[in-house]
């Protein structure tokens, strides 16, 4: 990450240009995948992976410090847990509303299909958050290992 060998410096002009063009679209496409899962292929898992890939590309080009300013390691670690909690919490919420665990129909008692829709949105968001955060945690932990030797 922090190596400043001549090869990396030479690559940088092209990398920066391509990265600047692509990273926003990768992130936008991840959000599309996240919130459009009901209508097309995709869902939380794919969206999370794509979003994380976008951020890792950002980290590869601008460095680990830059991407960790954008998504601090502590925040990412907390988010990994929050995603699972959101999923499990949706299940607990349906139980409190009188349904079974993860029986989303309970959200809108008069209209089961609407309840299913809300429940799916919530759990897919949980999956997306956890997958993004887990991938970033793994990337941070591996990429961060090179730092002590350089320091």
């Amino acid at each position: 990450m922090s190596t400043k060998s001549p090869m990396r410096m030479r690559e940088k002009a092209i990398l920066r240009l391509v990265g600047k063009g692509f990273v926003p679209f990768i992130l936008l496409f991840a959000l599309y995948t996240q919130f459009h899962g009901d209508f097309g292929p995709g869902g939380g898992f794919q969206a999370g992976v794509i979003f994380a890939a976008g951020l890792v590309v950002y980290g590869l080009i601008w460095g680990l410090e830059a991407v960790q300013r954008l998504a601090p390691p502590l925040l990412v670690e907390v988010l990994a847990a929050i995603g699972v909690l959101l999923y499990g919490g949706t299940g607990v919420a349906t139980m409190l509303l009188g349904g079974n665990f993860l029986e989303y129909g309970a959200f809108v008692p008069d209209h089961t299909a609407h309840g299913q829709h809300y429940g799916l949105l919530a759990i897919e968001l949980g999956v997306g958050i956890t997958v993004t955060a887990a991938m970033l945690v793994i990337y941070y932990k591996f990429a961060g290992r090179a730092l002590p030797e350089d320091a």
């Binding site: 009901d38 292929p41 794919q46 670690e77 699972v84 993860l102 299909a113 429940g119 949980g126 990337y139």
Partner: protein, 176 residues
């Protein structure tokens, strides 16, 4: 059919190239292309969700993580001597797998277990229970198989926790 043949031929070419090349950056990109070709094949088989996952995971995050790893290590693989035993193991395993596919139902066979078991029920009930949701895969995975998906999410979380525990080097240590 011809397009499948072309894709499979390219798939084999990628696999051979990855095995032969010593340049690890090239290998990382080629494995990404391998995944994209697989995704194209899945799309041709109407398995769009599988293709999507293959493209996102295989061509997306895996390639990017490979590149991230390579920036920490050497660019080229050390040349290795030809060894007979690994080749034998690979050939025997490959032959066993191919032999195994002979028992599988033909592609698109309506009598296949996948089309006979819970599939028809799902297809019949999904429009009733999830009216207005065009993609039936999402509600099946998220609602009817909600427990499984919860388990999978937990597995991913556990993987992150495992990496944190193994490689965890919090800021505290840095200050010492």
């Amino acid at each position: 059919m011809p397009i499948e043949a072309v894709l499979f031929a390219m798939l084999i070419a990628m696999a051979v190239a990855v095995a032969k090349l010593r340049d690890l950056y090239a290998c990382a990109m080629l494995t990404g292309i391998f995944s994209l070709l697989s995704a194209c094949l899945f799309t041709l088989m109407d398995a769009v969700d599988v293709a999507y996952t293959e493209a996102a995971v295989g061509a997306g995050i895996s390639t990017v993580l490979f590149l991230g790893t390579l920036s920490l290590t050497d660019r080229a693989e050390r040349p290795q001597k030809f060894r007979a035993l690994p080749v034998l193991v690979v050939v025997v395993t490959g032959a066993a797998l191919m032999y195994g596919t002979l028992d599988m139902p033909a592609y698109g066979d309506p009598e296949a277990p996948a089309h006979q078991h819970v599939g028809p029920d799902y297809m019949a009930q999904a429009p009733v229970e999830f009216e207005g949701i065009p993609n039936v895969v999402t509600p099946i995975l998220g609602s009817w198989r909600g427990y499984d998906t919860f388990g999978e999410t937990t597995v991913i979380f556990t993987a992150a926790v495992g990496v944190m525990l193994l490689l965890g080097r919090r800021r505290k240590k840095k200050k010492e």
